[in-house]
Amino acid sequence: MSSINNTKSFHLISSQKVSFTFDGKKLTGFKGDTIASALLRNNINLVGRSFKYHRPRGIYSCGIEEPNALVQIISEHNEPNARATVKRIYDGMIVESQNRWPSLKMDIGAVNNLLSPIFSAGFYYKTFMGPKGFWKKVYEPIIRKTAGLGKPPKEFRSKSTHHHHNVDVVIVGGGISGLIAALKFVKTNYDVLIIEQDSFLGGILNTSKKIKEINGLDTIEWIKKTEELISKSKNIKILKDTTVSSYNYSNHLIALEDKAVGSLPPNYKPELVLHKIRTQHTILANGYIERILSFRNNDLPGVMLAGSFEKFVHRYGVVPETNPIIFTNNSSTFSLLKSLIELNCKPSAYVDNREENSIEKSTLDYLKNNNIPFYTGAEVEGCDGRNIIREAFIRHKGNIIKLKTNMLCVSGGINPDVNLFTQSKGLIKWDDNLFTFKPDKAFQNTIVIGSASGNFNFQKLNDEIKNKLNFLKEVNDTKIEIISNVENDYKISEIWDIKPEKESLWSKSFIDIQNDVTVKDLRQAITEGFDRIEHLKRFTTNSMGTDQGKISSINSLGIVSKILNKSVSEVGTTIYRPPYAPLSFSAIAGRNTYEFYDPKRKTPIHSWHIDNNAVFEDVGQWKRPWYFKNKKGETMHQAVQRESKQLRESAGILDGSTLGKIEVKGKDALEFMNLMYTNAFTKMKPMTSRYVLMLGEDGMIKDDGIVSKINDQHFIATTTTGGAPKVLADMEEYAQTEWPHLEVYMNSITEQFSTFNISGPKSRAIMRKVFSNIDFSNEKFPFMTFNNFKYLDTEVRIMRASFTGELGYEIYISPKYALELWKKIFHSGKNLGLVPYGTETMHLLRAEKGYIVVGQDTDGTVTPIDLNLNWMIGKNKKDFIGKRSLSRSDTAREDRKQLVGILPLDKNKKILEGQHILEINKLPKKIETPIEYLGHVTSSYHSPNLKHFVAMALVKGGNKLMGKKVYVSDPSKSETIPVEIVNPVFLDPENKRLLS
């Protein structure tokens, strides 16, 4: 093939050369070239291999609709699936083709083409059904290796940003219709945003020679003048290189702006801007898309859409081939014919499916006058070639005419681009003259103008826009006079697919070129019963690629309607979904990545934890010490065993600053707390605390904590670390929605206080050393009481409470003094054996005591009765959240799952969390019928103090099974572990340690 430069193109900047590489080969293009236009300039058309059959593929279009020319940009974040027809080149750009191995011209995967019978419609569903184990070991690895397109980027940090707009009018598309509409708003009171996907305004005026003059000016001059007028008007803003990707409810549009067109993305500023636009009115002037025709081997490199070919000629100044064959069924290709002749290029044939009497006379005369071989009432039956088209076969009056060629320009008609209109929930309607869908009824404030509305006649454009916008007050009257180069009316014949002359495994008529879906696949799917268009789409994967079948989805409706013998409007269309064009995740994420997306919350003691080799655990957003590594090489198990043992022998300290803390105040605080929690607070003495439970209205445990009563008007509640926001939100909700008559206020004070838990037999001695002026005796400071004390120039609140079942204290102090106090306690406790411990040890110690952890031993299906916590329920209270549900027949059942302890009969056996409790001692080799299970293990730890595993489980009717021998499953073998169901309090059931 041979391409030439169109030196007459306004857009060709031949003075500025740009060098880049494609598959390692160094090439030169011009500034402003896309990868595709530069490759065509270098006579390269083979750019990729297809998705399923690995067939050679070339450049099919000249824009966003491209199905084939997807490439990988190595010089950026290894960006995959970049459309070569959109992405501009820059100096040093490294481009590689995709989906080929070992090389583009010699691709092993192409053997798939010969295996195509097994890749037919629904092959994913049918082929990979069995035998068992094959999916994981055979199918999946092979599919992963050969299917798919490019490779995803590795390390990547988005620099993109989000911009917000609130305007009166958005005009989508800065082509001729968009510009005429924009002129109506110049110097008016409307805030207008014009969004153009190209770097230039003008649309079709840049890409074809369909229009000669506007208002007496050459089209390029008119664009320049119009843009000047618009730019000077302060109420109008133009966004170029910006594509509207979605049109949501309430006239909300999302558009993506490429800030790095034709250059390497800068590393210090955003490469992408996501525009989030709110508007009163949306004017869709987003034009049309040309569609393909299905014939034998219509996917060969060298086959290209006719309108795209013309766009390459004018917009990029490259004539991809000087003597192509043009194959059409409509009048839009006349302008390509004219463009070529004017550049002294002669098409080697013009094949029109329309009969001679329905072809415009001007076209026929032009063909005759320029001596172009033309065939009317004819069709291209197919084409052949290896890696590039070599021959086309024309069926004309019953004969097959073979023509040599390097390029075939195809036009199957043009479709208004209804994608955004249907996204906005507008209704589209089939047009029996244009053979396409047109926007019909808008659902939102949407106005569609120009070719996007199905108006392909330039002479009617100004009136159309005027009529559609005249409901807006005070818009300008505009006079537009257009002189066309082509006939004003658009005519088309109905043709969708063309019967092949010969059949072979290689010969295929494609309907979806990107997803390798053939016309035969559609037929087969319908035969198999998938005759609904939405089913057909999923079964065949038709129009499911990155191009969303932009150039072919209407064709598939046409083909299906013929097979089913229905009209296209009866067949219906699949729903167009956002995004209009692929949208990079980095643009969606914007700056909301890493620490900006999910902040890390650290306690005031964090630096000390790091200095003391803490290993952290994420609890919500908090970083909590999980355990402390005492020395190099200490494992987690060793550390937790050491911490647990030392705490029960002397003392331990835990940073509990992450616990949620909520202050509740007000005249009716007491009544409010009585309603929120199961516990009764009325008789509770001031300056005492209680372990509390909060339920949902369904009676299930939602959270636990400690409530401290300062007086009847003032309470402080602690919550679990993860539950804090929800508990506060629930309190606010009930205070506002159900009990607005109660005068009560609540506020989160989680970050206003740091909390330390000191427990163990030596904790009193340590507290005495730190706070020498406080009497910590049992008489003066009994269990579950608290008080405020002066400390330096602040106050500390000290409470006698315990998570571990040991004598213990909780200290609340302002974060400002927290680290200092922590260090002081640590210094004082060192000689008494004080050990810092983390959450894992906390869990182990409480499991020894049978204390639950909400979210581990409960899962939203557990009531306080199930946990034998009846003592926490204020039965005499008239009401509290969830109270009534506790007596529902289902909640009051005696055979519900209840919390029990699990003790292995062989003390050396290990019990794992999550395992089943069974009544059989051995699982059958092959499980044929479901095995009844009694419940599951919720917590299990090895107790260094008892020297065996202690576990808790939720077991059906567990309360009545005390002392019963049952079995716990072991995931590694069919043998089960014999255990005894026991009381879950394994250590110190008399609470001697706790109350010491």
């Binding site: 409810y249 929930k425 209704l427 659902f443 219906g572 209205e697 506002q736 009401d879 109270k883 009534r884």
Partner: protein, 116 residues
């Protein structure tokens, strides 16, 4: 993304709000007097109409106030918002201008090609 008019703050982006389900479901004042069926209807049963729906929202990333809204569930259009202590609007005010996207039937499946 919807715009929601908080009765306390004004129009804000939907992302600032959380939905709280059906509105005007009053918590029984004396739950113990209800039988299991009556109580379970309060706890578990909510309506889910296609069309006009009265529901609760909270301005969780704003003033944290709860309020009520009238939403057309077939279009997601929020027609009206009002404070908790305000009288709810009458349903008849809205039903006349009910419309659905793409001219779908007002009841039943959203996909009108399936209906045929």
């Amino acid at each position: 993304m919807l715009i929601i008019n908080c009765p306390y703050c004004g129009e804000r982006d939907q992302s600032e709000f959380s939905n709280g389900g059906q509105a005007h479901v009053v918590r029984p004042s004396d739950p113990e007097k209800l039988n299991d069926k009556e109580w379970s209807e309060y706890v578990f049963v909510r309506s889910n109409p296609k069309g006009i729906f009265f529901e609760r929202w909270v301005h969780s990333h704003g003033c944290r106030k709860w309020f009520n809204a009238v939403r057309n569930t077939s279009t997601d259009e929020i027609i009206k918002t009002y404070k908790l202590n305000e009288k709810p609007p009458i349903l008849a005010e809205f039903t006349n201008n009910l419309k659905t996207p793409s001219g779908e039937p007002e009841l039943g499946s959203g996909n009108f090609t399936v209906k045929k």
